[in-house]
């Protein structure tokens, strides 16, 4: 009996290790100064278009695109597009980004961020359906690009008509699963 119980425990541990290995979650892909690129499971990412006027901003019909992502310590960093958009522009971007998340198990995100900045516990918390609610960590990313496994890409700046990601500080060849 004892032998069986021991074997069951070992099998359970083995299955847990196996599942944590196969279930990719969060990895720093590149860090050059404050240029940061991360690989992250889609279920650890959530995003919104935040109404700035409703939040006390001066101008009507201004929306900010924000991406919240759950890191390896289960704290939440925020990626944000620097420039504010109108509602339709923001929701168009949000829809495209959500499509990328739906189609990919993992996504690549890049921007300007200090990954060594000490985490703080923010008052705000954010909901991830698969994991629950977690507090912000005070870290933020000036967001540049989000790319899915099939090569679909959405960027903070439309740029000059070159394909996404067009920004030279995140060249396509350094980005995983580029088409």
């Amino acid at each position: 009996m004892n032998f069986l119980q021991k074997n069951n425990t070992s099998a359970l541990i083995f299955i847990l290790i196996l599942s944590s290995c196969s279930n990719f979650q969060y990895k720093v892909h590149q860090q050059l100064g404050r240029r940061a690129g991360i690989l992250i499971s889609s279920d650890r990412v959530t995003m919104i278009c935040e109404d700035q006027y409703a939040g006390g901003g001066d101008f009507k019909d201004t929306f900010a695109f924000l991406i919240y992502f759950l890191d390896e310590k289960k704290t939440v960093s925020t990626a944000f597009q620097s420039t504010i958009m109108n509602q339709s522009q923001c929701f168009k971007k949000l829809k495209l980004a959500e499509t990328i998340l739906k189609k990919s198990n993992q996504v690549y995100m890049a921007g300007i961020m200090d990954l060594n900045k000490e985490r703080v516990v923010e008052k705000n918390s954010y909901h991830f359906p698969k994991f629950g609610d977690f507090h912000g960590n005070g870290r933020s990313m000036q967001w540049y690009v989000l790319k899915g496994e099939d090569g679909t890409c959405v960027t903070a700046y439309d740029g000059d008509g070159n394909p996404c990601p067009w920004d030279p500080i995140f060249p396509a060849e350094t980005i995983p699963f580029s088409k």
């Binding site: 001066d58 944000f80 620097s82 705000n124 000036q142 740029g159």
Partner: protein
């Protein structure tokens, strides 16, 4: 004898004018008699380039170089920033004089808006300073809030020319300094000024905190001793 500055004026003919409804004006409309109106000069794209070319560049404060290495070309616009910051500090002298605008504020603002990309476009925001169409309109409107220094004949496509976008953004920042002073009742600090520029002075959104954080980091890197 002190120099008398000639102010160009024009005559405005008698016209109806909306006023608050009162006993004296129950209809809310009164007649404004013929009067003089000051005509402010306006500056074209060509003139902006001439001003920059002829501006004495040696003894003016420059933004810090070599600090924002994560951005490509981050130091390529330092001379433009220095010239236009100095130009508008002289055009709109602050009280007290030590409250002059620091060119590092403009550099950090550009870092946080476009990351120094001259071709960046984002909805209605264009170019290195991400100036919007509505701001461009105000900056050229003789009856608008920025009429004390106007630009003329600047088109949307010109906002992708950093030699035009940087003076426009700098001028707009000076305008925002004035509006923030009115709203706060005192001269704004650097971060209040940036929030006013972004239209978020009274905001409590998540974006306000993150966008400010991004500016703050760039500004701290630029001003670190």
């Amino acid at each position: 004898m002190a120099d008398k500055k000639l102010k160009k004026t024009t005559t405005v003919h008698e016209h109806p004018m909306h006023v608050p409804v009162s006993r004296k004006n129950p209809t809310g409309i009164t007649t404004r008699h013929q009067h003089k109106r000051r005509v402010y000069a306006s500056t074209s794209a060509e003139e902006l380039k001439q001003i920059f070319a002829n501006y004495p560049k040696k003894k003016i404060p420059y933004p810090s170089a070599g600090r924002l290495t994560e951005f490509k070309n981050s130091d390529a616009f330092d001379e433009l920033i220095a010239v236009w910051c100095d130009y508008f500090n002289k055009k709109f002298p602050p009280k007290p004089p030590e409250a002059s605008l620091d060119p590092n504020v403009i550099k950090a603002l550009i870092a946080s808006e476009s990351g120094f990309k001259i071709n960046s476009r984002n909805g209605d925001a264009h170019g290195i300073a991400q100036i919007t169409n509505s701001t461009l309109k105000i900056l050229q409107d003789p009856d608008g809030e920025a009429k004390d220094f106007l630009f003329k004949d600047i088109r949307q496509k010109d906002l992708y020319d950093h030699e035009i976008a940087i003076p426009l953004a700098t001028r707009w920042l000076f305008r925002k300094k004035a509006t923030a002073t009115n709203r706060l009742g005192h001269a704004p600090g650097t971060e209040d000024l940036i929030l006013e520029y972004k239209g978020l002075l009274n905001s409590s959104t998540d974006y306000q905190k993150k966008a400010l954080n991004s500016f703050r980091t760039a500004y701290e890197l630029l001003t670190k001793k």
